[in-house]
């Protein structure tokens, strides 16, 4: 292997088979047919595929890739300026109006469920963090609850209140970031700066209590890792006293803005029946009028004692989802005040051994994350690793709504609707 010839950075070419031969081999192996060669590919200098890149396999694909008169396929590829992560949308458009849409996922699939089957229960709580990376505390909350059910214990009350506190703080900055991303995707570059200032303050607070800015390794089976400390409490007080004014400032930029209203009202309406049938949960469902909140439906420990209402909106358009999230930020702030009033003293972690070996059984725990119903189904076989660890991520299910919503809208509205659904690709692709 000498270094004298320039080597190429591209993937080595597959064996040059005859097209019929390759099709036969692929059919025999049971994998999808070969990509369709794009006519201009040899001039591109890199591997270039067209859309669709292989012949359609299923009914829905055939329906999508059959073009009528005047229709065109446009690819919004895995790298695009929208900030939701890597996701690919194939739009079928007829002169700027979208007629159909296909979501291609998997560009961030990391195999977390499989990795968790080989990890101890406490290690699983660290693997789960980078799923829905904007709401790291929620990702850990559901597995912690599920493992506690398997093991048969409950976290001490102070730990439950601290959990609720950090979870509500996480919800505040996650919804705030959604506001920023919604404006950013429609071209407004200023609100995202305000959202990130807010996020930096809260995240510095959470790093004072957990040690990490983003992928907090804070929850344990049986409680939380650290107790509150002086720095956390002082930052919490400072933030709390400024938060309402901050929120009002952020809102002023966006909420009464005429361009924003014109671009978001009556756009991307999800009806009640569609939302229930498609499995949409969380603020998106409540903005369509269904009063379902996991914190009220199946209250997990701290929320049984806290008072709050379930907020809903009337229509299900983009503007309502935005208003719903602002209302939920205010609700979270009142919840934080109640938590700080009611927090008891006591230990923050139950006495559990280092490696937990629960009895064989099954457990299901669901929590309300900023994106919807986040749940964990865990099966234990008595050993130190979970036998099956399954996470149901809300963003994945919410994305099914896109092919229903988009027909009839313009391409530019795609980003507004997507930002209002607030998916996070880490959770979508696990």
């Amino acid at each position: 292997m000498t270094a004298t010839e320039p080597r190429e950075t591209r993937i080595p070419d597959p064996i040059d088979l005859d097209a019929a031969e390759e099709a036969r081999l692929r059919a025999a192996a049971g994998i999808a047919p070969a990509p369709i060669a794009h006519p201009g590919a040899e001039y591109a200098g890199f591997e270039m595929v067209g859309i669709p890149d292989r012949p359609p396999q299923t009914d829905r694909e055939r329906e999508l890739y059959t073009l009528e008169e005047g229709e065109m396929l446009v690819n919004m590829g895995p790298q695009h300026p929208s900030t939701h992560g890597v996701m690919r949308l194939v739009l079928k458009v007829r002169s700027e109006v979208v007629t159909d849409l296909d979501v291609v996922l998997g560009y961030l699939h990391r195999g977390i469920e499989k990795l968790c089957e080989n990890a101890t229960y406490t290690t699983v709580l660290t693997y789960v963090d980078p799923m829905d990376y904007m709401s790291g505390m929620h990702n850990e909350h559901a597995p912690a609850l599920a493992f506690e059910k398997l093991y048969g214990i409950e976290a001490p009350p102070r730990a439950q209140y601290i959990r609720a506190l950090v979870v509500e703080l996480n919800r505040v900055f996650s919804h705030g970031l959604m506001m920023g991303f919604l404006a950013l995707d429609m071209g407004g570059l200023t609100p995202i700066l305000y959202s990130f200032i807010n996020r930096d303050e809260i995240v510095d607070m959470l790093s004072a209590i957990s040690g990490q800015r983003m992928l907090f390794n804070f929850f344990r089976v049986g409680g939380v890792n650290f107790d509150t400390n002086d720095e956390f409490l002082s930052r919490l007080g400072t933030w709390h006293s400024k938060q309402l004014k901050n929120l009002k400032d952020n809102e002023l930029l966006i909420t009464d803005n005429e361009i924003f209203k014109a671009r978001t009202k009556k756009m991307g309406i999800i009806s009640r029946e569609d939302a229930i049938s498609l499995g949409v949960t969380g603020p998106n469902l409540r903005a369509s009028g269904v009063p379902f909140d996991v914190r009220k439906a199946h209250p997990y420990p701290p929320y049984r004692d806290l008072e709050f209402d379930v907020i809903t909106q009337a229509n299900g358009d983009v503007y309502d989802r935005y208003i719903q999230r602002i209302a939920e930020i205010k609700q979270s702030m009142s919840l934080i005040e109640q938590i700080m009033d009611k927090m008891p003293h006591g230990p923050v972690q139950a006495q559990v051994p280092g490696i937990i070996r629960p009895r064989p059984g099954r457990a299901y725990a669901a929590i309300e994350s900023p994106r919807g119903l986040y749940s964990v189904y865990a099966i234990s076989d008595g050993g130190p690793n979970p036998y099956r660890f399954r996470m149901r991520d809300p963003s994945l299910i919410t994305l099914q709504v896109m092919p229903k919503l988009m027909p009839g809208h313009l391409i530019a509205d795609t980003m507004a609707v997507m930002a209002s659904l607030d998916p996070i690709m880490g959770g979508v692709d696990k």
């Binding site: 694909e61 998997g106 499989k114 080989n118």
Partner: protein, 216 residues
Amino acid sequence: MRLIGERFPDVVSSLWTDEDTVEITIPGARNLEVLRTLRDDPELAFWMLADEAGVDYGPGVRFEVVYHLYSDLHPAWLRVRATVDRDDPSIPSITGLWEGAMFHEREMYDMLGIIFEGNRDLRRLYMSPDYKSFPQRRDFLLPDDAADSPAAGVNPLERPETWDLVRFANLGPLNPLADAGALPDASAVVADPAGDQPEGSPVEAGETDADASRPR
């Protein structure tokens, strides 16, 4: 609960309750009628499909498709476990009842290989369309599980008794120390390939120090 027991006397094969979950087990072929009754019956009214998961119990055992349902009228989650044969994994799709099951079923097909009859879009969700195997099956092993796989020990690097420490200990012909005689020659060392093991305890294939510290 009792209601479910009296509705489906012939289908449900086991019933189990916990503080907040009711679990029933049904054969996979009957899942459509059971779930439709659960959803439409006014006394049951499980209107929300919270989760649809697939579980693999091992080669030769079975698959399971586990549905979790929510109802306002009942305080507990309902878990419906539908058993699917592992050698011919196919089960009716419930996308007719809840359209939100589409991505769940695509993910289960991608990860476990369960075929859903009636699903209009059964293609891979996460892996690329060329991918050949189903990652979440029990017999798909991650690289660290090589010692568990049937091919353990085929590679001589996995068998310590074949390691040639004599050759690998030689630092090379041009080493200046070698001229001064500071290093032993290849010929001077007694031929003992696993030189660091005490005699009488040969290392067997698959049992090394790594096994003790490997997370099991």
